[in-house]
Amino acid sequence: MATTVAVAKQPKRGGRWSPWLFALPALLVYVGFLVYPAVSSLWFSLTNWDGLSATYKFVGLDNYFKLPHDPVVVTAVRNNLIWTVVTIAVPTIIGLLLAIALNGKVHGKPILRLIFYTPAVLPLVSIASIWGWLYNPQYGAINSFLRLIGLDGLAQPWLGQDSTALWAVMVPAIWLRTGFPMLLYLAALQGIPNELYEAATVDGATKWQQFWHVTMPSLRPAHYIVIALSLIDSFKVFDMIYAMTYGGPGTSTQVMGTWMYFNVFQYYQAGYGTAIAVVITLVAIAVGIPYVRSQTREAS
């Protein structure tokens, strides 16, 4: 009798509320400072609030209808797209190549890896400063280098002209985003059993065939993680653009994140600016959901 009582009580030890006591502090902060603000942005995006006045009007979906007629939004969407494709594809490919090279018989692997990952820990603002300084038309190292090797004609104001500004900002973004895929691919490569390669060699597979038929299929989980996380990250672009070009010259390097900021804090169109943020956030969530679901499923 006594034992049955004890057994019956066992799962209740700590009470049914105990898990929630552990969960509560983090959930409160999360809801209070992330979920609630994000959701109330939905409301602001339906108003004509200027960001200063005490009052504002509900305007329905007007802000959203205005978006396609705003030429800067069109530019920003295009820039976001270019940014997403380039800053995912290029770092992933360079990172994979570096990982494969580092996975071979190479000396000084730890220090090489340290160097390639270094840009990823720097503040984005400092990366923007460093590259802004390298791009300086007169005293920057990049133009100096071009003049040094006789390519004077190629020296140009990289950040100061529409045709090159966005690309010039993407170069440091690639620089800082290559380290992560490299680390991930390196760890994944080291997890591929050597027997697979030995078997392939016995079967007469060339190095090239081994790469496509052994290495690449084994890296599928790593590809998934790299691309999912880069994709999620790419929609957040703000710091680099803000600190390097301030959306300029003109509005040629505006992305949705910065154009939202300019509308809210420079042009006092908080309602309209928030609508811009809502659109890009919905895209980010939609794109990120498969990854979030895979993480949730994994844990269950």
Binding site: P19, L27, Y30, Y36, T281, E298
Partner: protein, 296 residues
């Protein structure tokens, strides 16, 4: 000391192929040389920054950015330190990280523990909702957060940043920590419970001590993110006395637009602590990043 490679990552690789001389060894050497060249190229922006920071401005202007310095000087650092207000921004960033990081790791560990080891209702829903936070860009929240902080009187204070920073750190920290906690065998928890330990004692005396590697990794990554955060700091902090390193650096960049050597010194001042920390702690960063994401 930077060469203390993470054994867990490097071991399988080093033992995979026994060193064999001949053409294979030579190819390793060629590959090493290629990688060294690429690495030098990769790090050249930072190397140039260091060289520029220690040379006089006149020398830089006269001989160009790619020349070797005439002589070395520390005055750039002194100028940058004074004008860039770095004593203040350093202090603010350090206080912020010292409060935010331990607090964030603790509440995330608690939530992670509830999700991984306690029978919690709506567990999957909570998990999904929290992980969804990984996809939310900061800028969707800045208008309401700004209003909230203004009504709380917490604008222009680093303490107003703590709440938003915690909230945006929680998804990643919970993701990594709960997956680590999950690997702790249920049996030892059950055994402790049979001995009369409650959930809190299990958490503080078993889970946390067993998870030190994961906690350290998460704390380091969180410290880097906190130290580097820009957008919230930009909209919430106005006065120079309350700015953090990234916002301070941006101001400084404007003031030093025509003083290239001073600018280089200022950028270096801002990034040196993070570079030193990264070099010393890279084992944790590398291990944690790869373990945390590959498991998922």
């Amino acid at each position: 000391m930077t060469l203390t490679a993470p054994a867990a990552v490097d071991l399988p690789l080093d033992t995979a192929e026994p060193a064999s001389p001949g053409p294979k060894g030579r190819r390793g050497l060629v590959m090493t040389l290629v990688l060294i060249v690429v690495a030098l190229f990769w790090i050249s922006p930072l190397a140039l920054l260091v060289i520029t920071a220690v040379r006089p401005l006149a020398d830089f202007i006269g001989n160009g950015p790619l020349s070797w310095p005439d002589h070395l000087t520390w005055t750039n650092f002194k100028d940058a330190w004074d004008i860039g207000n770095f004593a203040t921004t350093y202090k603010n960033s350090a206080i912020l990280a010292a409060i935010k990081v331990p607090l964030g790791v603790l509440v995330s560990a608690m939530l992670g523990f509830a999700l991984a080891k306690l029978r919690m209702k709506f567990r999957r829903t909570v998990m999904f909702a929290v992980f969804l936070g990984l996809t939310i860009p900061i800028y969707i929240t800045i208008v309401p957060v700004f209003i909230m902080m203004r009504s709380l009187g917490a604008t222009d204070s680093i303490f107003g940043l703590i709440g938003p920073y915690l909230a945006f750190g929680i998804p990643f920290e919970v993701l990594v920590l709960q997956s680590f906690f999950r690997q702790i065998p249920d049996e030892i928890i059950e055994a402790a419970k049979v001995d009369g330990a409650g959930d809190w004692r299990v958490f503080f005396t078993m889970i946390l001590p067993l998870s030190v590697p994961a906690l350290v990794t998460v704390a380091i990554l969180d410290a880097v993110a906190t130290w580097n955060e820009f957008l919230f700091a930009l909209i919430l902090l106005n006065s120079d006395a309350h700015k953090t390193i990234p916002v301070g650096l941006l101001n400084f960049q404007g003031q030093f637009a025509n003083n290239n050597t001073g600018l280089a010194a200022g950028i270096l001042i801002a990034v040196v602590p993070i570079l030193i920390a990264y070099t010393l702690l890279q084992r944790w960063i590398v291990g944690g990043l790869t373990a945390g994401s590959l498991k998922g």
